[in-house]
Amino acid sequence: MSDQRIFTRYRASEIGVDLQNSESKKLKNNVLGRKTALRKIIANLTLGNVNEMSYLLPEILKYWQIEDDYEVKRICHEYIRKLGPSKPKNVQEALPYILNDLKSKNQKLQILSLKTLVVVPSPEFFNEAFEFVSQTLNRLSTVKDELTKEAIYCISVLDEADHDRVLPLIDTLMDIIENESKEPSFIVAALNVVCIISERNTNMSNMTVRVDIAIDILEMLPTLNEWEKAFVMECFTGKVVPQTHMESTNIIQLVIPQLQHGNTSVALNTLRFIFYLLNYVEFTTEELSIKLSSSIIALLNKPPELEFLILRNIILLLLSRENSILNLDVSYFFVEYNDPIYIKDTKLECLYLLANEVTLPLILEELEQYATDIHIQMSRKAIRAIGNLAVKLNKESADKCVECLLDLLEFGVDYVIQETISVFRNILRKYPDRYRNNIDILVNCIDYIQESEAKNAMIWILTNYSDSMHNCLEIFKVFSSNIKDETLEVQFSILNSSIKFLMRYGTKESESICMEVLKCCTEEIDNPDLRSRAYMYWRLLTLLQTKDNHMTNETVLDIIDGDLPVIELNTKLDPLILQELELNIGSIASIYLKPVSQIFRLNRPKLLISSPVLNPDHDSLKIIKSNSTYDEFGNESKNLDNQRMDRRSHEMVSTNSTMNAIMEDYDKPAETINQLKGNMKSSSTRQSRLSRKPSQLLRRLTKKNHSNELIIHFLSGNGCLMFFHI
């Protein structure tokens, strides 16, 4: 009956006329006319014509009174809901009508009015809603219907408005949870609301659910609706604290079937719950790990948006479980030609993380294919991934990666070559001598280079391997002669390299280049940073020439051409962060791989609650074969004592080793570029490790031409997936 005419902007007066017209006509027709007019109002509110429509309140109220039709009522309520939040004062007059509906015998109408009451942010509305909810809760023992459930859920919104007033109601809710005689869906509703409230209000004490209650609720799982199941799993994660190994395995057994649920969110929440419980077990079975892995893979077969989220969480799990319980086949992560870009990116990251000595050949083959992909961004990322793998894995694997990169060089497309060269620099940083023979091939590609990053890399390679090349100065001249047209980064590189050449060789040729560059930087280019660095070098050189100082050639050489630390890719996140992220599987934190406190500042970080069986170290979780019998269990547990000892000593070692880690700056936002000073691997960063540590996953180390200066980027191109500012 309606059509698009409804969905255009109207003036209030026009609709007013419509409404009046419909009144004068005969009964049969005016109903429709009126409804059409009312619909126009709603459509206009959706279109953002709020001010205009607010004039129509009196009309609306008129119909509210006289109309019994449910549809008209709905429109009236919808009107208040849309208008209320922005103009709470205006809709005050509607309150009696809403209350009238709330008192009606029709449950549907009652629910409708309750929802409307809650949406308007004014004290009067709040009072009424609160009153109604507490009344409903009071007669809980006698009446159990849909409305009661709504009332329970309603508390979560009321709490947002006035937490202190709602507090007493929470006791009632806790009663519902602990008193099993109630209907399951009420228990879930109450549980859910209590969880939401306790997590929203950081001042409330941490809520926990007793294990026996939890088991009782889990036993009713089959009777719950799919979303209720999902909520149960969500609420229990971090709230149920098993005290013994048996308790946690029991709970795991109870929830395992839910992994096969058709509702993705149930499956994922269950997965998260199980991973949470795995912190409270002494050992786990191989069977469980197979089940977990296969259920994750099965989740991948979903619409792209859901698949994206699953993939992000797989990254998270791969990061957090090093000796992974998960055993995923790499071929599931091969990119398909019709994947959306964000899926391709994420799959690439998964492949990178899954790569080890065994899977490397397979992955390299895939990556090489992507590198010659028609999609330029994709191809660059693939090359970058190959380069990163070479740095991440052992020598033999690096050989394979390099071989693959050299193949790509022959492909002869400029962006492939440029990317390959940029990547090669990192490999050379890791293995300075291993690939010396291949330098010539790289240098031969010099004509293809246009981008500043590739230029940077090329200049660095030229400078560092100048001794194995006879004509490096000639080649370098190509760059230094048009220093003025280069980007700032490249200008820095040229400046640094020219000084290095001068200090190393001291020949006429190098001197003339260096002088030219210095002159250009100080006199012709306006950038203050570049200028002051050029001056710094200049002074250093002058110092060297004055007789009465202690500077020797060697010290200067050491300053500007010192040995660089070997780079290493560290894909590990801080264990505390990982622990928190793992508790947030499926949440927004898993998308950005950042702790919740960074995304939602006011929230308290979720942490594992301690219990006698809490096992803080994922790596030491023992996976036993499924066919072990009871007797073996006994032995197993004996071994476990030793195991635990091992674990403790392992911890000691690991803390030591983190002290010596090469990269300790991974807790700084990537964009505030880290200046890693050679020997200052201080432990000072540890203090803040809880508060801010972004993922340094797939972080790419780029050595900026000058010594001791590392810039950290992310693999994922524009980086939009990996880090985010709020």
Binding site: D3, N106, L224, G262, S265, P304, L309, I588, L602
Partner: protein
């Protein structure tokens, strides 16, 4: 959970907006989404304190906006899946293959009501279409009717009334939303009618029963079996079960590398059963304890998942030496109380072994030029690998020609020739491919091989010159040509083509296959038995089981 929900059209303009909490200025919120979205954005965007989670379906956008203060770390998966389910809910409710902008606009109120029902105060309640359909019984406003009054002018009061008259008339022709159910509600006990007095204030008498609400439904959502209402009655009790498997297969034909060999299976059910029946289904895969199947299958919410896993539990508790285990083996079945109407009972994904031959295999693909005769031949052979007694009900093969047209200079002024063992070959000139339509192809295990050959003529410069020369000298008019002038058509179709574009397409040359094999499952899945039990009514019921194997979108050979 989520503070506001939107449905947007393809230009990212809001069609529906809905707030579950006091949120100001909905239009502005969605405006900032529109500004920050780019084609490469992942399904979650964060802009100035708002997280936008979106799902794109059928040119419509389902967006949930969450304020960062609202929820600590809201469960994205739930929101994403909810949006996804909302789409299915709407689709199912409207009984449409595609949701369109018009349909949403016409039924804006109904859509908001559906949203209202499925999400309370931002907390997701239910998305099961079958139960919501019982709950909300509003007439669907089909856009067919819009033709009636689109030419009316709203300002004029006379035409206004005229249009409403027309509307009233056209109402009669509206499709009732649940045809088959309507009659049943009528027959259902009148006692309950008195209980739900108020909702029934419908204005149109002819649709009275449409909006009638089963009083049990209001309680269903708080009951144990939330997906099925009490008091369903059918005169004939039938249950349909379809096992549909779509095979995904991708092979690089040149180097014989199989890149993908998967089966995506679904067990779809339609239930028209009275009362509260309990169904038991035994699948051979579950009985045989197929690890892969059990690991990769996902079940509908109605399935009591414990029934499938009984044996596993027992084994863990009592150890393998227990004799009672044998009983449990037989007990492994899918037990469930079905929701009413259509639903997907189970979804599974299976990997096939690399050595398993594909259902339809391409054994050879050749392009043979014969420069002496100025011809080029494309030949292709396929063979079948499924049970001999079965045959395909539909079978087409798409053969790409772009490569051929690029590599050789084809002379289309001479008609190309096609020959095939079965079926017929069609030439799509605008998009450069051949279609080989076979329809019915018998099964076999490699011995049933069929082939086709297509022959194109190469451009013969010598002959062309000679003919040109002759035409100049000769007094005769040029010989008459019958049939379509393919070369002209081809020119016409391809004149606007981008050279880069073709280069892109050239990189991926796929031979696509499309087929449908009834009565067989590729994975060998079989329903061993299907029991329907209803303790109270004890009626006779008719279970129907069907199998079908299909191609997935990606069943192709890269050549």
């Amino acid at each position: 959970m989520s503070s506001c929900l939107f449905i947007l059209d393809e230009l990212l303009e809001p069609l529906i907006s809905k707030n579950t909490k006091p949120v100001r200025n909905l239009p502005d919120i969605i405006k900032s989404f529109k500004e920050s979205w780019t084609p490469t954005s992942p399904p979650i965007i964060t802009v100035s304190n708002w997280h936008y989670v979106y799902v794109k379906r059928d040119a419509l956008w389902f967006v949930a906006a969450i304020h960062y203060m609202d929820e600590k770390c809201m469960n994205l998966m739930m929101i994403l899946f909810y949006l996804d389910q909302l789409y299915y809910l709407l689709k199912n409710y409207f009984k449409k293959e595609l949701l369109t902008k018009l349909l949403i606009i016409d039924n804006a109120l109904l859509v908001t009501e559906l949203m209202d029902e499925s999400i309370d105060f931002g907390i997701i309640q239910m998305t099961d279409p079958s139960i919501i359909r019982d709950y909300i019984r509003v007439k669907i406003n089909n856009s067919i009717a819009t033709g009636n009054n689109s030419n009316d002018d709203s300002d004029d009061s006379d035409t206004e009334s005229a249009s409403s008259k027309k509307n009233a008339k056209s109402l009669g022709s509206y499709m009732p939303s649940a045809n088959n159910l309507t009659n049943l509600w009528k027959g259902y006990s009148t006692k309950d009618e008195t209980l739900n007095e108020n909702v029934n204030n419908d204005n149109f008498e002819n649709n009275d029963d449409e909006t009638y609400i089963n009083s049990h439904i209001a309680r269903t959502t708080t009951m144990a079996v939330s997906w099925r209402t009490k008091g369903i009655y059918y005169a004939k009790n039938e249950f349909f079960l379809d096992v549909v498997e779509s095979v995904q297969y991708l092979m690089n034909f040149k180097d014989k590398v199989i890149r993908r060999n998967l089966i995506h299976g679904q067990i779809k059910c339609k239930s028209y059963l009275s009362g509260m029946p309990t169904l038991r289904i035994a699948l051979n895969k579950i009985l045989q304890d197929d690890k892969q199947f059990l690991g990769h299958a996902k079940f509908h919410q109605c399935v009591s998942l414990n029934s499938i896993n009984i044996k596993d539990l027992e084994k863990d508790l009592e150890g393998p030496n227990d004799i009672s285990n044998k009983n449990f083996v037989n007990k492994k079945e899918i037990e469930f109380i079905p929701p009413d109407g259509e639903f997907v009972l189970c979804q599974y994904e299976l990997r096939r072994h690399v050595k398993d031959p594909p259902v339809i295999n391409m054994t050879s693909f050749d392009i043979k030029p014969n420069f002496k005769k100025f011809r080029v031949q494309i030949s292709l052979k396929i063979e079948t690998h499924f049970k001999r007694q079965n045959s395909t009900s539909l079978m087409t093969i798409k053969i790409p020609l772009l490569q051929l047209f690029n590599d050789y200079k084809i002379d289309l002024s001479k008609q190309p020739r096609f020959k095939s063992d079965v079926g017929k070959v069609l030439f799509n000139i605008s998009e450069d491919f051949l279609i080989w339509e076979i329809d019915a192809l018998k099964g076999g295990h490699g011995e049933n091989e069929k082939g086709m050959v297509a022959e194109f003529f190469l451009f013969n410069q010598e002959e062309y010159d000679r003919l040109q020369e002759e035409a100049k000298i000769s007094m005769n008019p040029p010989p008459l040509r019958n049939g379509p002038k393919l070369e002209e058509l081809y020119e016409e179709m391809h004149e606007n083509e981008d050279a880069e574009d073709t280069a892109l397409k050239m990189k991926t040359q796929y031979v696509f296959m499309q087929f449908e094999i009834p009565y067989s499952t590729c994975s060998g899945l079989k329903v061993e038995y299907l029991k329907i039990e209803e303790d109270l009514l004890k009626y006779q019921s008719f279970p129907w089981v069907r199998y079908k194997t299909l191609n997935d979108d990606e069943y192709a050979f890269i050549v």
